[in-house]
């Protein structure tokens, strides 16, 4: 199982849970799996072409997937994934 940290803005989609588990072999698969359990989450993370939106980062074990293999980044049991929202303010 993969542990996925859900940031505050997405918690309304996960019934308030800050951490969920998913069974997945890649980041792409993880997003699809999360979307089945928590519909709508994929839309928030990816644009219409499936690309990761520019205001979100995904880290696998503290490394940004943009510097790993993107959405194809391989995941194995015990990996920790963090969905990181943009730094923002008003």
């Amino acid at each position: 199982m993969i542990k996925v940290r859900i940031p505050t803005p997405l918690r309304p989609l996960t019934k308030g849970q800050g951490e969920v588990e998913a069974k997945a072999g890649s980041v792409l698969e993880m997003i699809e799996t999360l979307n089945q359990a928590h519909p709508g989450i994929k839309d928030r993370l990816c644009d219409e072409t499936g690309e990761l939106r520019r205001f979100v980062n995904i880290y696998v074990n503290e490394e940004d997937i943009r510097f790993l293999n993107g959405k194809e980044t391989f995941l194995k049991d015990g990996d920790e994934v963090s969905i990181v929202p943009a730094i923002a303010g008003g």
Binding site: R53, F55, V84, I87, A88, G89, G90
Partner: protein
């Protein structure tokens, strides 16, 4: 010892950034070694990008307010960092052997102190910094509301705002 030592040329660079983007908000990062700041990383403000307000920790009232504005108007009252830029900066900071010290942004029309939204998002972000292997930074605000820019730096921890002790050198 001061929390941070910021060279005048770096403050000048931040003010130039804020003025270039006014009336929109600019944002960026400062990095250095120990308490000495020695690099500026300008980050794109992508608040005008579709959906950006939904994946930031804006409270519902602020998000609703942003949605009523045109994309250009949104950037006058908010910023959302381009996380692709952020990742590049984070990588460069690491490659240079530096550490992230400060997150900065401008208030084109308001004083140099954190807004309610700034405090809320900084507080939400406190749990994220360790997850991405970064220390909790100080927050620097540049106000352009008067002819003379005003710059102030703060710590935001557990919803509490305190002034950071900054030496300009």
């Amino acid at each position: 010892m001061s929390d941070l030592v910021i060279p005048q040329h770096i403050l000048d660079d931040i003010v130039a950034h804020a003025r270039e983007l006014a009336p929109y908000e600019c944002c960026g990062l400062l990095a250095g070694a120990g308490n000495q700041v020695n690099r500026v990383y300008r980050i794109k403000n992508i608040v005008a990008m579709e959906g950006a307000e939904n994946l930031s920790s804006f409270d519902p009232a602020k998000a609703a307010h942003l949605e009523r504005l045109s994309p250009a108007e949104r950037a006058e009252i908010a910023f959302v960092m381009d996380m692709q830029d952020f990742s590049m900066a984070k990588k460069d900071i690491r490659n240079q052997g530096l550490a992230l010290q400060v997150v900065y942004h401008s208030h084109p029309h308001d004083p140099a102190r954190p807004s309610v939204t700034d405090i809320k998002i900084a507080t939400d972000y406190e749990e994220i910094w360790p997850k991405i292997n970064l220390p909790t930074p100080a927050y620097l605000l540049i106000s352009l509301m008067h002819a003379e820019p005003d710059i102030k730096t703060y710590w935001i921890k557990a919803g509490q705002v305190t002034m950071a002790d900054v030496l300009v050198h």
